[in-house]
Amino acid sequence: MAHLQQTSTRNKLLASMSPEDFAILQPDLEPVELEVRKVLIEPNKRIDYAYFPEAGVSSIINNSHDGKIEVGIIGREGFVGIPVVLGTDRNPFEYFIQIPGHGLRISTEALNRAIDQSRSLHRHFLRYAQAKSVQASETAFANANNNVESRLARWILMCHDRVDGDEIQLTHEFMAMMLGVRRPGVTTALHVLEGNGLIWAKRSLVTVRDREKLEELADDAYGVSHAEYERLMNGGT
């Protein structure tokens, strides 16, 4: 992409790296549509591309014989391809698009060349990998410690952080998969959150109404990873 400017990308990871590091990646970045349910990485298959979302949200999914459960979420704050910068070309989980959007992609070969070339670029990706690892630990904490209402609030907040505006378009069936509970559990929790004025829930549309109250309900299962991302990626030490 000859005309891609760092200042024009909406992916925060690309926007926050040094101009020199961005210049290394720039010739190999190509625009990509991120359609709903598009699979970006298949479990235990070679990773061909890393993806930098500019809009839209991707889920990391653990596929077991009991069904699918979400174990991570990636939007424009990050990139899909951590295994590559950690030195491997595959991983056991599926990465797919849950909220459609668009972004930029780079081949695994080009990404590997770039991080070989620049220590600071590699460090930038490793710091994001650390932020993502904190998010995964926080998800484990939430699943063990928090009730469905609280986990739903956390999950709505994490989506809200990654979309424009206050609307999140997803079916209850899908949210049930994300949270690892049966659909009536999600429907009831949405009903409760709406009754308490935190959201509006209309069929497959959730509208955030009171973010502060959602944060209260999500409690300490939400804020830690958010703060750690800010510290690591936006000028921390």
Binding site: T171, G180, R182, T188, H191, G195
Partner: protein, 85 residues
């Protein structure tokens, strides 16, 4: 979401609440074999009892599924107590 001939059932949840303890299901589940409906609803109730820890519902056994078909007719009322029998 599937063919037109597969019947769809909506699992509304009645739960104890000071106001409006009724979570309406707008999505429903497709069940190719309607004779499996009761078993499907029982299994859903069992899964919720086992896995869904909710502050709104400290005790699932006081809840009831009210199941309707696509015409809106109630076809099954299943108290959660029946899930352990």
């Amino acid at each position: 979401m599937g063919g037109h001939n597969v019947p769809r059932y909506f699992l509304h949840l009645r739960y104890p609440a000071p106001i409006n303890g009724y979570a309406q299901d707008d999505e429903g589940d497709e069940l190719p074999d309607p004779s499996q409906l009761r078993e499907h609803v029982l299994e859903t109730a069992r899964d919720l009892i086992r896995h869904a820890r909710m502050s709104t519902i400290p005790n699932w056994f006081v809840c009831t599924f009210e199941v309707t078909d696509e015409a809106g007719d109630t076809v099954l009322i299943l108290p959660f107590t029946e899930a352990v029998e």
